[in-house]
């Protein structure tokens, strides 16, 4: 007992002493821990609130109000795929050079983006499908696509041009303007937060879902959501904490305690929001959810995020941004292709695509099997999500005790077993709601418990991959890392059609009420889960080749620190002021 109180006292003294200045060998004062809790908490909860809105089939707004055919989302992905390659190419080039481009290149890119915007706007204003013979095989094919017609296809295609041009031009402009001041992870919050709030309000109030013709509804909704997606509000501040300290242990400490504690914000919001929604007459199906509840919650959290964002610092060991290594396009490409650990991740993601197009079966379980809403829904969601918190607080222990390879293999196996049990419960005792529900909730609880440590490990593995890339190429090349997606994208987009087509066969289209039909619901949930289970089992294989241990990581960090020291020293010798560099 005495030793516990002595430990508490010593912890208190430690926090008090280093409230404003960090201890020797550390970089983050405890005051910043408090700021991390508030900043990440509101940013994370705000980004989670936005998960209720999106142009995807499982969004309740889309499923209940827009009633768009399920396969249409796959059709739109295919339409957007070719242009996605070209736009990604420019995007990475800009991002991995942090927006600092030679003047001539910058002007050329602005021109390209401007032309894309002009073309995109023209497709919205004019119907290019009329330029083609209406009886041609091409037009007939487009007219026959699920939920689309030729006009909608051209407008959807043009919307992607508009979106790409708009986002691209903003990316160069705001990166250059804001990145030196706010750092590479936070700057986008400053330019996006106000338009994002406006778009969140518009999405609830614009009655696009009342358009009677489905094809018109599809392209107008696609345009509306593309505009909404131009402005981001991701979990940037948590990403920022990945670079909060060059000290590995301190980084894990920040991510294990203040960051995890900050997630309680989201737990609270996750209880309050469904409880409020449950009080509305039509509950989740009530349009007022999107007119008042979601915008209200988001605007409050966004405001809090912006108040605390400036207090979380980036301390990534890197040369100052003005002195950074310039990445040539092909060097960036080949640089990431030489990263063995990115390749391992890619193969894992490729296998993971077997589950693409799957419906959110937990949500279906809650809404369609158990008909949960209001506080009971909040409580069960909270109970399950809370299951991950205690093991998460022990993350530093588990990460020391087990290798990342062991943790990730364990994770995939527990997913396979858990999902397998849920599929069996739904198949064999789906009619008995009490028994089936109890089995599912218990399994979900254990799956959540065994998820959080691997998630932390996964984040840290990604940070380490970035560190290793920086060691290899002189820059993290986070965007260029998407080049692996170029190779896997064609495969995943095709494989991702398997489940939607299966679901269509079992009756799932634009009307989610089909999930009230017991035998259809069983097929719609269980068959994709079985496909997913196979994926989880196969995903253990790539991790067998992971050999990047802490010793290697520490040596890489030593190299990076040395590079930063030398570059800063040289810059100082040349009498240049630098910003955003390594804060040692």
């Amino acid at each position: 007992m005495g030793s516990i109180s002595a430990k508490v006292k010593s912890l208190f003294t430690e926090i008090k002493t280093h409230w404003n200045t960090p201890a020797e060998g550390k970089y983050v004062p405890y005051k910043e821990y408090k700021d991390v809790v508030l900043a990440v908490g509101s940013n994370y909860a705000g980004s989670k609130v936005l998960e209720y809105i999106g142009f995807f089939s499982s969004c309740y707004l889309i499923m209940h109000h827009y009633k768009l055919p399920y396969l249409t989302f796959s059709v739109i992905n295919i339409l957007n795929m070719p242009l996605g390659y070209i736009s990604a190419l420019i995007w990475w080039f800009v991002c991995d050079n942090l927006g600092f481009l030679p003047k001539k290149t910058e002007r050329k890119l602005y021109l390209v983006y401007f032309l894309m915007i002009v073309f995109g706007v023209s497709t919205i204003l004019f119907d290019y499908s009329r330029l083609f013979d209406q009886t041609s095989a091409f037009i007939r094919y487009l007219n026959g696509l699920e939920g689309m017609n030729a006009t909608a296809c051209f407008k959807t295609f043009g919307t992607h041009f508009l979106y790409t041009g708009w986002v691209g031009a903003r990316n160069i402009f705001w990166r250059k303007k804001l990145l030196p001041k706010f750092g590479r992870y936070k700057y986008s919050l400053y330019c996006d937060v106000v338009p994002k709030c406006i778009m969140v309000i518009l999405i609830g109030w614009l009655p696009v879902y009342n358009i009677p013709d489905v094809a018109t509804r599809v392209w107008v909704a696609n345009l509306l959501f593309a505009t909404y997606n131009v402005f981001g509000f991701a979990n940037n501040l948590e990403t920022c904490t990945r670079s909060i300290s060059p000290n590995l242990q301190e980084r894990i400490l920040v991510r294990s305690y203040p960051v995890k504690i900050s997630h309680f914000f989201n737990t609270i919001v996750g209880i309050i929001l469904p409880a409020i929604i449950g009080m509305l007459r039509y509950e989740w199906a009530d349009i007022n959810v999107y007119r008042y509840v979601i915008p209200g919650a988001f605007i409050v959290l966004a405001a809090m995020t912006m108040i605390f964002a400036g207090r979380v610092k980036e301390r990534i060991p890197q040369p100052p941004v003005e002195k950074k290594v310039q990445i040539k396009f092909w060097d960036g490409m080949f640089g990431v292709l030489h990263n063995k650990y990115l390749l391992i991740n890619t193969i894992k993601d490729l296998i993971d695509s077997l589950g693409n197009g799957m419906l959110p079966f937990v949500t279906i379980l809650y809404f369609y099997t158990f008909r949960l809403s209001g506080l009971p829904y909040s409580l069960i969601v909270m109970l399950i999500s809370f299951a991950g918190t205690p093991p998460d607080l022990l993350s530093p222990y588990f990460l020391k005790r087990f290798s990342y390879k062991q943790i990730m293999i364990f994770y995939q196996l527990t997913r396979a077993i858990g999902n397998g049990l849920i599929a069996a419960a739904m198949w064999f005792c789906g009619d008995n709601l009490t028994l089936c529900g109890t089995i599912c909730v218990v399994v979900l609880f254990f799956m959540e418990m065994t998820k959080t440590v691997p998630t932390t490990a996964g984040h840290d593995m990604n940070v380490r991959i970035g560190d290793y890339q920086m060691y290899l190429s002189g820059e993290r090349l986070e965007s260029f890392a998407g080049v692996f997606g170029w190779f896997t994208g064609p495969i995943t987009s095709f494989v991702g059609l398997i489940i939607p087509l299966l679901l269509l066969k079992y009756g799932f289209n634009s009307n989610w009420d089909v999930l009230f039909v017991d035998d259809s619901r069983r097929n719609i949930i269980v068959i994709p889960i079985i496909v997913d289970v196979i994926g989880f089992l196969l995903m253990t294989i790539p991790y067998l080749f992971w050999d990047y241990d802490s010793k290697k990581q520490n040596m890489v960090m030593e190299v990076l620190k040395r590079r930063a020291e030398v570059t800063e020293k040289k810059a100082a010798e040349e009498g240049e002021t630098v910003s955003g560099g390594y804060v040692g």
Partner: protein
């Protein structure tokens, strides 16, 4: 050292003494060497291979993806007795559909009007004998379906959520099915199978109540309109013919209907039989004999009483779900099965007032009602102290007067 302690990985502090000129080239043991601002070997060749691989991969993927999402307008499966229509994917312009022979769409290249530039060709050597589940799913264009004389089986879920469907017409020579004014029945009219989602538009046209706005959307009359009562009788009221013993699965789902009259001989209401009918206020039962589904006054129906008919035995799951306009339910003593969520979401709170089905009136005593097989959450639930509470059951109840 214990076994447990041994397993904890102890990280030794590492210090590397890297000369300034080697900071960009220093290779960590066990890892690849850095490659910064140096040309790659066979740079040109690698670029070409890279580009080729991407182009080929994207092309192959696009080709197969495009092929996969392309649906034939009509898809059939062959069976012993003939062909099953397994999937109909509208071209976007087909409003009337015949289900009799294997069909395909042919286009007239001289006609540029997309609404009329096609014809549906039928292969009369291939008869369609059945229609599979979800053959038409969420179609928004088809208004009329004509069932041929050789169709032997239609899955109850065959025409799921066909929002524009007004009529299902059956060939009079069909020995298995028939229709009564555009509503699908089995031949002897003991089972009512499907009342199309937009049947009210057909009735509104038929009885001269249909009005449209400038966009072609039908204007729903309101209680203030002069002919509203007649409109309710002609369009929003449905009389289930007295021969009917079973209301089929999904039969009346999403109907635009205010009153329904059920015959006293009715035995079963299948799963989702009256699912989500927001306007449905009154369920009546009648004792008389009628084959006419049109409501021509209560005199034609004999004795009429409120709610479910005497003799009803089976109420399927979700049978009356989401019908918040209903405000009275009486479960006769003949009922032996009530499926899960049979009356789900038929009660709600308007401020502090409880609306909808606020209690369930049961003919049986509590002791006898315990013998009735009931599914989970068959009673509606309302918000109560932040949780949900099921409405009360009133046992030994007398049926309310109409």
């Amino acid at each position: 050292m214990s076994k447990k302690e041994k397993k904890i990985i102890v990280e030794e502090p590492i210090h590397l003494d890297i000369p300034e000129e080697e900071i960009w080239t220093y290779q960590v043991e066990g890892l690849a060497a850095p490659h910064i601002n140096k040309p790659y070997k066979h740079y040109g060749l690698k670029k070409v291979i890279f580009a080729l691989v991407i182009i080929v991969a994207v092309s192959i993927s696009m080709y197969f993806s495009v092929r996969t999402v392309q649906k034939d307008t009509f898809e059939y499966e062959q069976s012993q007795s003939g062909f099953t229509l397994s999937k109909f994917s509208n071209t976007g312009y087909i409003t009337e559909l015949d289900i009799d022979y294997v069909s395909s769409v042919e286009y007239d290249t001289d006609n540029t009007d997309v609404n009329t530039n096609f014809t549906i060709k039928k292969d009369e050597t291939k008869k369609v004998t059945s229609v599979g589940a979800y053959a038409l799913n969420c179609d928004e264009k088809v208004k009329v379906i004509n069932i041929g004389s050789d169709v032997e089986f239609i899955d109850p879920k065959a025409f799921y959520s066909c929002w524009a469907l007004q009529q299902i017409e059956v060939d009079e020579n069909n020995p298995n099915y028939c229709d009564v004014d555009g509503v699908l029945f089995n031949k002897d009219k003991t089972v009512i199978i499907c009342r199309p989602c937009d049947h009210d538009t057909y009735l509104a046209e038929k009885y001269g109540h249909a009005k449209y706005d400038e966009n072609g959307a039908r204007i729903e009359p309101t209680a203030e309109d002069a002919n509203y009562e007649q409109y309710v009788n002609d369009v929003l009221t449905y009389v289930v013919p007295s021969s009917v013993e079973t209301i089929g699965e999904l039969c009346f789902n999403y109907a635009n209907m205010k009153n329904v009259y059920l015959p006293e001989g009715l035995k079963k209401i299948e799963t989702l039989g009256f699912f989500e009918i927001p306007l449905l206020e009154n369920v009546y039962s009648y004792k008389g004999d009628t084959a006419d589904a049109h409501f021509a006054g209560e005199d034609a129906l004999g004795e009429i009483y409120l709610s479910l008919p005497e003799g009803l035995e089976y109420i399927g799951s979700d049978a009356f779900s989401y019908n918040q306009a209903m405000n009275y339910i009486y479960i006769p003593e003949s009922v032996t099965f009530i499926g899960h969520h049979a009356l789900w979401d038929t009660v709600y709170k308007d401020g502090d007032t409880l609306c909808g089905i606020t209690q369930i009136n049961v003919a049986l005593s509590e002791e006898n009602f315990e013998k009735v097989e009931t599914g989970d959450s068959w009673r509606p639930q309302y918000d109560y102290m932040l949780f949900k509470k099921s409405v009360d059951i009133v046992y030994n109840s007398e049926r309310a007067e109409k």
